[in-house]
Amino acid sequence: MNDKVHLDRAHLRHLLTAMLRIRRFEEKCFELYQGEKIRGFMHLYDGEEAVSVGVVETLRPEDAIVATYRDHGQALARGIGMNKLMAEMYGKLEGCCRGRGGSMHVFDAATRFYGGNAIVGGGLPLAVGTALGDKMLKRNSVTACFFGDGAVDEGSFHESMNLASLWKLPVLFVCENNLYSMGMAVERAEADTDIGHKGVAYHMPGEVVDGMDVVAVEAASHRLVAQVRESRVPCLLECRTYRFRAHSMFDAQLYRQRAELETWRQRDPILRLQAWLGETGMLHAEEIERIEAEVAAEIDAAIAFAEAGTLEDVKDLERFTIMDRVPQ
């Protein structure tokens, strides 16, 4: 775990907390789904927390994010309040999208969080566009565009990579390669599985990083975001990771072996960081308990908030289909 990011105690505590917030939040979501408080499609990020935490850490407030349906990690890392995220999952009016989007469609104007997109690959052209807009408006912003290994199979990946590179747009493409798109192993979906290398076909610089190591992700993202911001060229970051749970709540996981899962569990990004912090004496057990307690309290509060939330009045069903102005 070496890099140019400052590895002080406060920062590492912060990274750990950020990952734990996601992990514990989603553990609760899983229960809430089984209790039918949350419905629809829900995709958990369990195991992949280091990716969004590490990348989002390197962004500034003026930067933008485009995510996928597996978006809780990015949303929490970006600072979207847990209350309004939970309320969204509950379908409540107090949710970040008034309960209209649900788990797959988290949006937040304040943090330039442009969704939660449920079409695989559908966010990539959007990210090209936000970066183009930022560039034309002479903002010094970067768009971080998250997508899965499955999105690499889609034509939109190819078109977006080419456009961004051709026009020298400030996009950091972040591939969360968790080895599967639903049940499709990456080697059964792609003739060349070396995703990090695919930038070459577009003259786009890139790196491959251990997505189970939050510090490594942060370091790599730090380098690439700096490159994007300074040289105004897009970069590709492949994060090798793994989801510990099923693809969604409807998945018998017939397509992968328990042993594979167990191997990856050994590399759990949270346990790994905790262990290292323990070994180096940077964070003691009590401190971790304190973090866990804080996180638990935050989640309890979020659930209480969501429970107490209201349902949007069906009279407002058609509202915002057509906008009467561009929100500021």
């Binding site: 309960g99 989007g101 449920a118 199979d153 034509g155 049940g183 499709m184 949007e312 069903l317 289909t321």
Partner: protein, 335 residues
């Protein structure tokens, strides 16, 4: 042999199982038939329709594809032209937009523009519809959109019988056939009448006879409409319910025959109202049943909004039995 005579009770199966049986027999019956799509093999199908089939039939005949909708739909079209009889599964109609060019510009056009040199005997199956709180990008009902395209046939199996048997005539058809399966039907249970061994893909079907008003519908809305008819019956209104079954070409004579008797029509369609299939049906009645109609045509469709996630909002956006009942009641003079 009388149906009640001893023998084992016919087993209740899901619509999903009926679809699977249709696929399985079609593949077993013809070496040219295979199915391809995302997660159809190892995962077992996103709605579990093909679960277990790849183990039995092999991964060549139940073929997992990468997430490349334009690519593998186009490949299905090409394979059909080359002599195979592919069944292409697109997980849902929402993703079919990525393959719309291949469907419209290739599948639907090649026969005509080649002067009849080639046929395109491909079947494209996909799930459609809302009701599972999947929100705006996963809840479209675009079958009416595709029913606009010359060169395609479009089917909407609502019943178990159609889910089980429409696939074979679709494969036998030399033209590209799109099959839309409503997501809310997969878990429905029903029995398959053992005496039925096939269905046509040409005609609409009267699902409940009635004389006061014709309720025209298809797919996932059929059962809501039948429920509405039951309520109307309790009120003394006899509604005739027609399941379109085939969305292109429409069986217009069946509709005209019914309306000539009932003089009133309500169309129920989960598509967004403006420009949905219901509009075409209303237009045909306004053209050809004008002198038969005693009352304006009514349409019960989805509200014109991207379908929201929250349950109460989603349900408010979709056609509901109560609205069908109210529309029918409004047309029939009180007695």
């Amino acid at each position: 042999m009388s149906q009640s005579a001893g023998g084992p009770q016919p087993r209740r199966i899901t619509y999903r199982e009926a679809c699977k049986q249709g696929i399985r027999s079609a593949i077993l019956a013809d070496p040219r038939v295979f199915l391809m799509g995302e997660d159809v093999a190892r995962y077992g199908g996103c709605y579990a329709v093909t679960k277990g089939l790849s183990e039995e039939l092999g991964e060549d005949r139940i073929r997992d594809t990468p997430l490349s909708e334009a690519g593998y739909v186009g490949a299905g079209i090409g394979a059909a032209i080359a002599g195979m009889r592919p069944i292409v599964e697109i997980m849902t109609v929402n993703f079919s937009l990525l393959a719309a060019d291949q469907i419209v510009n290739n599948a639907a056009s090649i026969s005509h523009m080649s002067g009849g040199q080639f046929a395109v005997p491909v079947v494209i199956r996909m799930a459609t519809g809302a009701g599972r709180q999947l929100a705006a990008q996963h809840s479209h009902s675009l079958e009416g959109w595709y029913a606009h395209i010359p060169g395609l046939k479009v089917l909407a199996p609502a019943t178990h019988e159609d889910a089980r048997f429409m696939l074979q005539p679709a494969l036998d058809d030399p033209n590209p056939v799109l099959i839309f399966e409503h997501v809310m039907l997969y878990n429905r249970e029903d029995v398959l009448d053992q005496a039925v061994t096939g269905v046509d893909i040409t005609s609409a079907k009267v699902m409940r006879p009635g004389s006061d008003v014709t309720l025209i519908t298809y797919g996932g809305s059929l059962f809501k409409t039948l429920e509405a008819a039951e309520t109307l019956h309790a009120e003394g209104i006899e509604a005739e319910v027609i399941d379109l079954r085939v969305l292109r070409p429409l069986d217009t004579p069946a509709l005209l025959t019914s309306v000539a008797r009932t003089h009133r029509a309500v169309i129920v369609d989960e598509g967004w109202r403006s420009g949905s299939l219901s509009a075409e049906i209303a237009a045909r009645l306004a053209e050809a049943a004008f002198f038969d109609l005693d009352a304006p045509i009514r349409r019960i469709c989805s509200a014109e909004v991207p379908i929201p996630y929250a349950a109460q909002m989603e349900q408010a956006a979709l056609p509901q039995p109560a609205a069908i009942v109210a529309a029918a009641r409004g047309l029939v003079p009180s007695r």
